[in-house]
Amino acid sequence: MSAFYDEVQEIKAQYPDWRSATLPALRLAQEKHGYLSPDALRECAEALGTTPAFCESVASFYDMYHLRPVGRHLVEVCTNVSCALVGAQQVLEGFERELGIRAGETTGDGEVTLRTIECLGGCGWATIVAIDNKYRTHVMPDGVQAIVEGLRNGD
């Protein structure tokens, strides 16, 4: 069996019920496959001992699971109230200009997906931008160019 399968078995052992391993298993499958493709869901279901349909029904509820392909990098700009008050929309538009795409889209080379996201829990350090799930705080529109260059240079 695969390393993925073994890892899911270890996770299952942490809980009184195998089902609790569903979210962690989906996360692992997504890390392995890039997104939750039909193959990823099948592998996940096999490791959990359930059906791909169950896995998809759970995955479709949560924002962090991608049921469609996303870029190699994920840029998420919080546009909730606290970030919006200090200019999150301008930050978002800065990313749209630099990347040449609209929010919700992926660059033509498949490198970067840009999207807005709801409150990331860093309101006092706005604007918060999550780059591949790592927070950047106090992002200003004039700081966007450097972030995008960093992504393109593989930092």
């Binding site: 942490q14 809980y15 009184p16 019920d17 195998w18 089902r19 609790s20 391993a21 569903t22 979210l23 962690p24 989906l26 996360r27 029904s57 759970v58 509820f61 949560y62 924002d63 962090m64 699971y65 469609r68 392909p69 996303v70 870029g71 546009t79 909730n80 109230v81 606290s82 919006a84 008050l85 200090v86 999150a88 929309q89 978002l92 795409i101 609209r102 929010a103 919700g104 889209e105 992926t106 033509g108 080379d109 498949g110 997906t113 999207r115 807005t116 996201i117 709801e118 409150c119 990331l120 829990g121 860093g122 309101c123 006092g124 350090w125 706005a126 999550a130 799930n133 790592k134 927070y135």
Partner: protein, 443 residues
């Protein structure tokens, strides 16, 4: 009451790196746990009752009383669970983020004391999926703890990561999610204390509540209750954001003036602008006008103004902000996060956005303002959980407190603020899905 920082939960975190077990032990860390293990569960609950600690997640339920609802082991043979709600997602709140990142051991010590108090050997910490930073700190702290049998005893602590859903901060939705399902709230009763995780007795507590437990055991409940004001004892981590010079978390004694918090600790409204409004406890709470902030930041004082401390996220808005735009952005959040189970919330939040957008565009007729409030009314009290209700209450409060501004949108056929308001045309995720569906990635 003086407006100064009073650190109980965050004590010593400014001077030392308390993410390290050795540093935490050097300031007396985990001694409260040793003391608590020498006490009976009933004695610990008595101490919590004496402290008058109320839950810091937002509902403000007395912590000791919550623990006392858990059946004793001889009354219910199922295992008892402690589930920690670290799914902090309320717009405006970011305190648990900082607690987990800077005082992880105080938080974990609180979990271990609580586990002892409710006869539990299994602790699950449900941390929101986006909190990568705090998660990594907790992983490190747990590794240190696992190497110390004298501290962890017979308790296992499992870190469980969420995957992006505000609703999972609601305790029964959190339990569903922890059981590996879609995070949709359950009917109550039965309450989690009786039938929670895997239908077993379960206590669900917030991160800040847990991190407050060790200091209470150390100083004694009676002394902790000396802090703060009646019905709101002790300290609170307040998250300041929006139009304040110094945004951030500040631990204060309950009852300090909201105005002093904003102007003394937060440094006031930047850019020489005027204060317009304050959202006092995260976006789910009713708004206060600029002339209503001479109020104590405590449960009773805010209740008199029909609002609440909620999860202590104070959002400050200056005079450029349009209240209709605020309504749109706040409501779009709830529309996006509605789990879809109850019709009034799922449909009502969408209708509210539509009416608010018509108001903002100047297309709304006079009766639509009442229609908006009517939709709010038809959500209130008609759902399993408070998500839709909080959207309705928040938006209705903007109309109530700034009715003349909503009326101007109708009378003038448009927004008097337009793009001079920072909330103008902000792209929310719910609108992004509608207008810019995810593009296909080239192979």
């Amino acid at each position: 009451m003086a407006t100064e920082v009073r650190e109980i939960v965050m004590a010593d975190a400014g001077e030392r790196d308390l993410t390290k077990l050795a540093e935490y032990e050097a300031i007396g860390g985990y001694q409260a746990l040793q003391k608590a293990r020498g006490m009976t569960p009933a004695a610990i609950i008595d101490e919590l009752n004496a402290s008058e600690l109320r839950g810091r997640g937002g509902a403000f339920f007395p912590t000791g009383r919550k623990w006392s609802f858990v059946p004793k082991p001889d009354q219910n043979p199922n295992p008892h669970y402690l589930v920690v709600n670290a799914d902090e997602s309320e717009p405006g709140s970011f305190k648990d983020n900082e607690i987990m990142a800077r005082v992880p051991h105080r938080f974990l010590e609180g979990c271990l004391i609580t586990a002892h108090a409710v006869d539990s050997q299994n602790v699950f910490i449900y941390i929101r999926g986006e909190y990568t930073g705090p998660y990594e700190v907790l992983v490190g702290a747990l590794e240190e703890l696992h190497a110390r049998a004298d501290l962890r005893g017979d308790v296992t602590i499992v870190l469980h990561r969420g995957a992006g859903a505000y609703i999972c901060g609601e305790e029964t939705a959190l339990l569903e999610s922890l059981e590996g399902k879609r995070g949709q709230p359950r009917t109550k009763p039965p309450f989690p204390a009786v039938q929670g995780l895997y239908a077993s007795p379960t206590v669900v507590n917030n991160v800040e509540t847990m991190a407050t437990v060790p200091p209470i055991i150390t100083m004694g409940g009676a002394e902790y209750a000396q802090l703060g004001v009646p019905d709101s004892r002790g300290t609170r981590l307040v998250s300041l954001s929006g139009h304040v010079a110094n945004g951030g978390n500040y631990e204060i004694e309950n009852g300090v003036s909201l105005r002093d918090m904003i102007y003394d600790l937060g440094g006031g409204v930047p850019g020489g602008r005027q204060l317009k409004a304050v959202i006092p406890g995260g976006s789910s709470t009713s708004i206060l006008r600029y002339d209503e902030i001479d109020v104590g930041y405590d449960f009773n004082s805010l209740l008199k103004l029909d609002t609440a401390m909620g999860s202590a996220g104070v959002i400050v808005l200056d005079d450029r902000c349009c209240m209709v735009q605020l309504g749109i952005r706040v409501n779009e959040f709830y529309e996006h996060e509605s789990c879809g189970k109850c019709t009034p919330c799922r449909e009502g939040t969408r209708w509210m956005t539509q009416i608010l957008r018509r108001l903002e565009a100047g297309d709304a007729e006079q009766h639509e303002l009442d229609l908006l409030l009517d939709v709010c009314d038809r959500i209130n009290g008609k759902c399993l959980c408070p998500l839709g209700e909080t959207a309705a209450i928040a938006v209705a409060s903007y109309v109530e407190k700034f009715r003349e501004e909503f009326q101007t949108h109708i009378d003038e056929g448009g927004c008097p603020f337009g793009d001079s308001s920072p909330l103008h045309d902000v792209l929310a995720p719910v609108a992004q899905h509608t207008h810019h569906p995810t593009a296909t990635v080239p192979a």
